[in-house]
Symmetry: none
Subunit: 239 residues, 4 copies
DNA sequence: TATGAATGAGGATTCATTCAT
DNA sequence: GATGAATGAATCCTCATTCAT
């Protein structure tokens, strides 16, 4: 049950080695599990866990089947490691950026929604969202982990954001939890769709960015206190 | 594990049995494919297509493997038939009700969202939504079918609904297609969640009905023309 | 283990009922096993025993699977019955005609070879030959039966025929048994070929009748006593 | 049940192992397909294609089912490869020897018939003959292949041989093609019989070599020009 | 008798996992 | 460490056989 060291797994461009004295061989050795996790994530997301062959994961990472088993004791453990590693690394990373933002509630709101898409929805982390939706029921232990590590913190953050606007009077008084759920829905849907119908040749129906803008527009108009209406304009050029 | 011969769900119209003591065998033979489709839907939704064993589908329908193959030539055809049968029947059925609605755009909007959940989201048809999201990439022909038969008609209908409000001046002028996508997102998300995390023991985080109400509230406030604000009140006792 | 009454199984045209008072129903009942045997023979010859489906045999005989099992307790017994019945009826019947022939040794020789082809080789009995060649090793008990009932009598008859010519001085003195084997070979080969390559679209390479004539010509020229050479002319028009 | 790594039969030329202790694994890997083809040939010939279990083929080659599928993608492809490999190697090999012969037409004739038996009829290639006769109708593509690669070349060569005798006046003028067919018949029959009735305990009726001699005697006497009669004596001790 | 729906043992094929090199 | 040949349990699917009607 090895856990890989912290590492920016999915980054396509690898900056020059910060500690040049370490052998390239060693770096490769450390990177291997991450390449395997990337490969596994991509294939699990595309085909589902059961329909993905270990051999294809290995091949995509450029190693042989046997090598994969040097790092992961079974297919199921590989899946768990993918989730654990990608969730903590990628999701958390996305969240970090979001968490630091300051500004008005409405601005924060719009920025956060956009950032969520850029940092999570359209990155490999979005694949995790689909993978979880499709596989949790086959791996109940993972569900708890996912709820604790991802869902709950996300919800708390979103809730804080809405709550801040309500407290300041910027937003109408609303049931924060339910509004959060209503806001999260389309984001999760967009992320899933990207790896589902959106990845099929027939699926170029949704332009995620413009749907995001429509949702921001709709939600902000729905949230803002009556006295402030209509302060949030439909973005230019978007009809 | 036998399910009742009086099948539930999918048949468009079942006349009262004209000859009450006609062969039980014959009645079974007619009911069998529907029972198998129900069983397949349930298991495909729960475990995914690849991880579901044909033998388990048959057992859930109270028959043996061999019997399943009397009605469906292969596992893949079974999946296709599940999609075709459940989609056309359930989706079309829900749509019918909606099409006949008369009233203000805002009322229609609220009714439609609630009806979608009652007729599709929380029925077995909701399982189709999750199933499709998880499996389309492995079955490109099904993707085309699903887009043509489900996504496109649904979108068209939602778009008409929004467009009616915009045309009458009840709603703000918005990009209808994008708003529709933003509206569909949380509904689809709710349906998927019901069969995903929501079905795990840790997943009782979302109360679908109240999220639906929150979304209606949010979206109507976001859609209504400024001059009418705030005409749509947060429903009593929901905040 | 019912055995069917003597009957001209394969004849497409059924002559007027010789005993008109017997119900057509009854005749049908008696004929059914024969229709099944005919169907089984045809399919076993075409596809082999293992690759033939019981259901196809029944369908070819115009009855259902269940009906076949009213007459034959298993697929293997059906095969045995096909062989027993077709061998005794068809082969023996062909032999009868041949056995009665009288004439000079050379004439008898030529006539018998031609008759063998007409009465056995190109009739359904020829199918038995192929069936036996292909399946005996899987059914060793049948081998003894076939040797006793078909091979040995045929060989004896052919041997008598050759021996008669040798004894009368018409033929050279030869090892009768070996010559018989050398004569039987191409006949059996022709019969098998008819149901093998000859039945494929690519197999129109052999015209059985002219090969037969070539063999008669060759063998007679090879058998006749030196003083009589060349008494047996190459048939007219055959070059 | 392992067969020796020094494979028998099919390889055109096997150089002495240059590095005697090179990986046994590697040597196995190269020998494996040949051992599997040998095993498949033996079992297909004995039981027929449909009645042979893949697992038994693998076991006879000393490996497991799974291993067979490393080398052949399906049972049907295995059959095709058996045909292709055994046919081109064994048939071609026999043909080579024959092609180089010099001498009188009668001598060539006798030598060729005997050689055919020694090089093809009584070797594993003889099994191919039976296999083809029994299975071609189920595999039309193979029929074409077999006609093009085996039947046609063989016939052409036999025809040349007879034609040479006719042209030189050694043989009577005969219809060469038909005589060839009449000559091929008993050879093919002997080969098939060896794997059919001849392989059953009751089937020791034919001594192939002496039948061959009888056929040579018979055919040569039948072919030689009248003026030369009787130049070809029945071989000593064979009558 | 005749039917054909139902069964489940059997066989082809796949693929996660092991292990000798 | 790395490989990939080998394994065999697991799964899809077929079809001989049974049996209620």
């Amino acid at each position: 049950m090895k856990t890989a060291p912290h590492f920016q797994g999915a980054a396509p461009a690898q900056p020059a080695n910060p500690t040049p004295l370490i052998h390239a061989r060693l770096r490769r050795k450390e990177a291997r599990p991450l390449e395997l996790l990337d490969a596994a994530l991509a294939l699990f997301v595309e085909h589902g866990f059961a329909a993905t062959r270990i051999e294809d994961v290995a091949a995509r990472a450029g190693v042989s089947k046997g090598t994969l088993y040097l790092y992961f004791p079974s297919k199921e453990e590989l899946l768990k490691e993918v989730i654990r590693h990608k969730v903590v690394n990628q999701i958390a990373e996305g969240m970090d950026v979001i968490r630091q933002f300051e500004g008005s509630a409405a601005e924060l709101f719009a920025v956060m929604i956009r950032l969520w898409w850029e940092r999570i929805g359209e990155t490999p982390a979005g694949g995790i969202v689909k993978l979880m939706m499709c596989e949790v029921r086959n791996f109940p232990e993972i569900a708890q982990f996912y709820v604790d590590e991802v869902i709950a913190p996300s919800n708390r953050m979103m809730a804080q954001m809405v709550q801040r606007g309500v407290a300041s009077g910027e937003f109408r008084p609303v049931d924060v939890q339910r509004v959060v759920s209503a806001l999260v829905g389309p984001l999760v849907f967009l992320a899933m769709n990207k790896h589902s119908l959106g990845a099929c040749s027939v699926g170029h129906l949704l332009d995620a960015k413009s749907v995001i803008e429509a949702q921001i527009d709709l939600a902000l108009n729905g949230l803002l206190a009556p006295s402030l209406h209509p302060p949030h304009k439909t973005p230019k050029g978007k009809q």
